[in-house]
């Protein structure tokens, strides 16, 4: 049984100010840098439970804490306060074109990414053909990924992250660069995944995507859950607010 449970989860991080010799000798020379060891409250006492079978969209302004929320669930950041329980195998896909070995080809990157997502070499090797087929990258897989377009990164990363049916799939703005054909295919896969009782949490700025895929929507504002409910209601409220 997979679930995500956040109880009073808090995340505060410090923004470190760059200090140079010049700043010490010449007072006030660094006047553009107002963030003097400031603390950012990225998640502010979030209470949330996501159960098996839910497809959740996370919406909100830039810098509201959406990606941070996903990274906390993924175990990349550790909450600085409160409790977080994540039960199930997590797979994720965040910012693109980082986390790849630029000089290596698509196959090698697929393999490495699979390992980092927690697969064994055997498991990933048995899935590689399938991932390649889904990505439709064909011959491009033999090319170093430094020559890839952002759409090709989406194909490679999405195909790998979803290939082994994780219990929990976290996606952050992944379709911004995909072409229509691939988005369609990817959406179908996400719907299929949840049909076998898995959790999907995705950050999106595209309300149509949210409406089409997700049955629940969370609106994050300044690190807090501003609204949580059926996708239609939350999206409507958000759009009204933005207007």
């Amino acid at each position: 049984m997979s679930f995500i449970k956040m109880e009073d989860t808090d995340l505060v991080f410090k923004v470190w100010r760059e200090r140079r010799l010049k700043d010490i000798i010449v007072p006030g020379s660094n006047k553009f840098n107002k963030f003097q060891n400031a603390a950012v409250h990225a998640l502010d006492h979030v209470n949330l439970t996501i159960e098996e079978g839910e497809r959740v969209a996370v919406i909100g302004h830039n810098g509201a804490g959406k990606s941070t929320l996903l990274k906390v669930i993924a175990g990349i950041f550790r909450p600085s306060g409160g409790k977080l329980t994540v039960e199930g195998k997590v797979s994720n896909m965040f910012e693109l074109s980082t986390g790849f070995e630029a000089e290596q080809n698509g196959w090698d990157n697929m393999y490495l990414r699979g390992l980092m997502l927690g697969l064994t070499p055997k498991e990933i090797k048995s899935k590689m053909r399938e991932i390649a087929d889904f990505s439709e990258l064909g011959e491009f897989l033999n090319m170093p990924v430094k020559y890839y377009s952002s759409g090709m990164f989406v194909r490679l990363a999405f195909s790998t992250s979803t290939a082994f049916m994780p219990d929990i799939l976290l996606l952050d703005e992944v379709f911004a660069a995909g072409d229509a054909g691939f988005i369609d295919k990817a959406m179908r896969r996400m719907k299929d995944m949840v049909n076998v009782a898995k959790i999907l949490v995705m950050v999106t700025h595209n309300m149509e995507t949210a409406l089409e895929i997700c049955d629940r929507c969370i609106w994050i504002d300044r690190g807090q859950v501003r609204m949580d409910g059926a996708t239609e209601e939350v999206v409507q409220a958000y759009l009204d607010f933005v207007k």
Binding site: A74, T98, Y111, L117
Partner: protein, 259 residues
């Protein structure tokens, strides 16, 4: 702490192996001789320095070359680990910020790559030594194995220390290479301790690098190391490792925000 630290490495062992493989391959990408360079470079370097010594100081080339080789290659390993440690998290930023991979594997990755290069160079050493002085070969040379283990633990600790220190203060990296350069001259690497005057012997007697190097260098030359030197080497390696691992473990969750 220790349990989580080693468990994390075990969990990501496949990632580690894969990254080390990649680094080794990438190093000689598009080169014709490829990995042979790992053997040729130390070999040629020792021959160059050995010849210079033989010409300048009238020393027997058959004696100097093995000594230089046995000192220089382990030293290169230590500095490569320490230098690589500086950037091990910085270069791994893409992975650390995207995937929940255990950060402690990245300093280890650097050390493993440098260690494999050391092993290659030792192969070259044995070939060279077999030609120059076959009579010195004996079972004492097997003592190089515990020596290498001690040196590995030391360098791993050092790399971890550097990885965290450089994350906090980027001035650490140039400072470290300066200090290591200084140690290169005060540690008997390209000369023998016997060549130092008695009143200068303190510069290696109180030098941790001397003991760490000696447990590898002496067995390579077919000599035995006194037990008290082993004790010091083990203690130094354990202390450096404990400090490095402690620092990495303490900063486990801060690394992402520091990158």
């Amino acid at each position: 702490m220790t349990q989580g630290f080693f468990k994390g490495i075990w969990k990501d062992r496949y990632v580690l192996i894969s990254l080390v493989n990649r680094d080794l391959q990438a190093r000689y990408r598009r080169s014709i001789l490829g990995v042979l360079w790992s053997i040729i470079t130390p070999l040629a370097l020792s021959v160059i320095i050995g010849t210079v010594y033989a010409l300048l100081f009238n020393q027997d080339i058959k004696v100097t070359i093995p000594i230089l080789f046995a000192g220089l290659n382990p030293w290169t390993f230590i500095t490569a680990s320490a230098d690589g440690g500086n950037t091990s998290f910085i270069y791994a930023e893409g992975y650390l910020k995207q995937l929940s991979v255990n950060p402690q594997i990245f300093p280890l990755r650097t050390v493993c790559v440098a260690f494999i290069n050391l092993l290659y160079s030792l192969m070259a050493f044995f070939v060279l030594y077999l030609i120059l002085q076959p009579q010195t070969f004996g079972p004492e040379m097997l003592m190089v194995i515990p020596g290498l283990v001690i040196m590995f633990v030391f360098s791993w600790g050092f790399a971890q220390f550097a990885s965290v220190a450089n994350l906090y203060v980027r001035d650490y990296q140039p400072l470290q290479s300066l200090v290591l350069q200084a140690f290169f001259y005060v540690t008997p690497i390209i000369y023998r301790p016997a060549q130092l005057a008695e009143q200068l012997s303190f510069i290696y007697r109180y030098n941790p690098f001397y003991y760490i190097l000696d447990v590898v260098k002496q067995p390579l030359l077919g000599n035995l190391v006194p037990p008290e030197n082993y004790l010091i080497a083990v203690l130094v390696a354990a202390a450096v490792f404990a400090l490095g691992a402690f620092m990495v473990d303490r900063c486990r969750w801060k690394i992402n925000f520091k990158l």
